[in-house]
Symmetry: C2
Subunit: 313 residues, 2 copies
């Protein structure tokens, strides 16, 4: 029986790493760069080196370590094999097997958005809910779904891809995924900027958004200072996101939506725009879902990675 857990959240520029005790307290936290050259062949050896070094520094023995949890930006199957992670340069990569060979420690891997949901449920904004949907409003929209305390990874590792749920007919522009009318085209940071530009073109109304760079933050700052055009933009954002949440709730009836990512820094004001639309579209029996903010920020992945290890025991 181990005493400690390593968690690693592998991103395109850096790997966030954490050392946890079995209760989920952070013992240590650090980062290493992600070397994506040569199809990302150094990434796993670099992580293994860092873990082995940390074990040596702390004078642990291998038996002290319950496991290594890994959050990876791509679909991960039940055997811990990643099927392509574009940001890392990876093709099919046996993460679990490779790490176990390099460290001699049991390893478990999951998709980063899914793993973040586990982290938020365990130690973040989702505490107390065992059925929740994490919605990460960043450059894109990521999602992670937990039902009865367990991750929904999906038959092909594509569970929780709610950013690519179709929510709008008649969208002329294509999403990165190739489809048109995906949630991500409206509710992500880039989506909000798109909505903002469209709105500003449509109207002659004065707006502080006409000066300076348009960002999701600028839009919600302007909402707070009473800017009418910014409120229209937020209204459109809330209408579409609320509709998307309602669609998800009619399928899953989660106890809570946990909203994270850069856009969530705008705070509870988001929910003032999302909630009315949610209630308009949702199946009445699923109306009870709570809306809460994620609290772990960039640490959700390492917390969730540690929880992956606890869940496999």
């Amino acid at each position: 029986m181990g005493k400690y857990i390593f968690g690693a959240d592998v991103g395109g520029t850096s790997v966030k790493m954490g050392l946890f005790d079995m209760a989920g307290m952070v013992v240590d936290k650090w980062e290493i760069p992600t070397r994506t050259e040569n199809a990302g062949e150094h990434i796993l050896p670099d992580i293994a080196d860092s873990i082995n070094q940390k074990i040596a520094e702390n004078r642990y023995i291998k038996e002290d370590i319950a496991g290594i949890g890994m959050a990876v930006p791509g679909p991960v199957d039940a055997a811990g094999v990643v099927n392509k992670a574009v940001n890392l340069g990876w093709g099919v990569t046996p993460v679990k097997e490779t790490m176990e060979k390099l460290c001699g420690i049991p390893t478990v891997a999951g998709n980063d958005a899914n793993v973040a949901a586990l982290g938020e449920m365990w130690k973040g904004g989702g505490q107390g809910y065992d059925s929740l949907v994490l919605v990460t409003l960043g450059t894109g929209i990521g999602g992670g779904i937990i039902v009865d305390g367990r991750l929904v990874t999906g038959a092909d590792g594509a569970g929780g891809e709610i950013g690519h749920m179709h929510v709008m007919d008649d969208e002329p522009e294509a999403c990165n995924c190739g489809c048109k009318g995906c949630l991500e085209q409206y509710g992500s940071a880039t989506g909000i900027v798109r909505l903002a530009k469209r709105n500003l073109e449509r109207t002659d109304k004065p707006s502080t958004l006409r000066d300076g760079e348009i960002t999701a933050k600028a839009v919600f700052d302007a909402v707070r200072s009473g800017d009418a055009v910014a409120k229209d933009i937020a209204g459109e954002f809330g209408e579409i996101l609320g509709k998307g949440f309602a669609m998800i709730a009619s399928v899953l009836n989660p106890a809570a939506f946990v909203v994270g990512g850069g856009v969530s820094k705008a705070g509870d004001i988001l929910f003032e725009y999302i909630r009315p639309s949610f209630e308009k579209y949702v199946f009445p029996g699923a109306k009870g879902a709570k809306f809460v903010l994620a609290t772990l920020g960039n640490d959700a992945g390492i917390y969730g990675s540690a929880k992956l290890v606890l869940d496999m025991m």
Copy 2:
């Protein structure tokens, strides 16, 4: 350790009942009427009498019975309490507790649409898939979701209410649930009739559907005989249903959609209309879902009820 299981699927007019061995073979199958008078107070005692009588007839002892599974048309919580079942006249009804008192046998209860999904996974069209969505195209649209072999019941027992997922903006008419643009308004038997009437009003084209009663069956029979208007109707049906399936797949990435209910008697031709739209709207990583027909018909509920008992052991 019991040798037999009772399953009861409680409907508004009759209760379908089954006696199963532990491998899921049907030993006996029968029906009793559902007496909904006096707020449905006779329903559970009638079922209990029928079970107790069957035990006596077969000269079983109580210990021979592993459990009773119940499928109920309403939301069921983890304690086996139904929160309102309109078709039965029930308010809040403790199904598990009542049956255990009346029969002295462990009982487990679930929502009928969810339980049917379990039945189809176990012994029906969904065999071999441990993540599936059962879509029952009947008078309305029912749904049941299974992830990693387990039912998604939802935080309020409203999991799988996919008939009430919003799929169309600009719908002028309201659904039974009060919302506008629910999947059920287009993909159910009544939904198809609605689409058919709208189509026939819009066009002067000749169609065999102008003679006789318009039903879902009549529409798909006309499709098979080459009727152009019927094909347009089926096209619209497939476009909307495929979009709905795509939304679900982007959230859950199931291995299969299992399609049942009266409309599914049209057969595989349904998929010719649903699949192209599904592929247009779905997140590419979730495109692999198989489309299969349900095979248990009205017996899905009793099979699923028996499986509920096995799963609780």
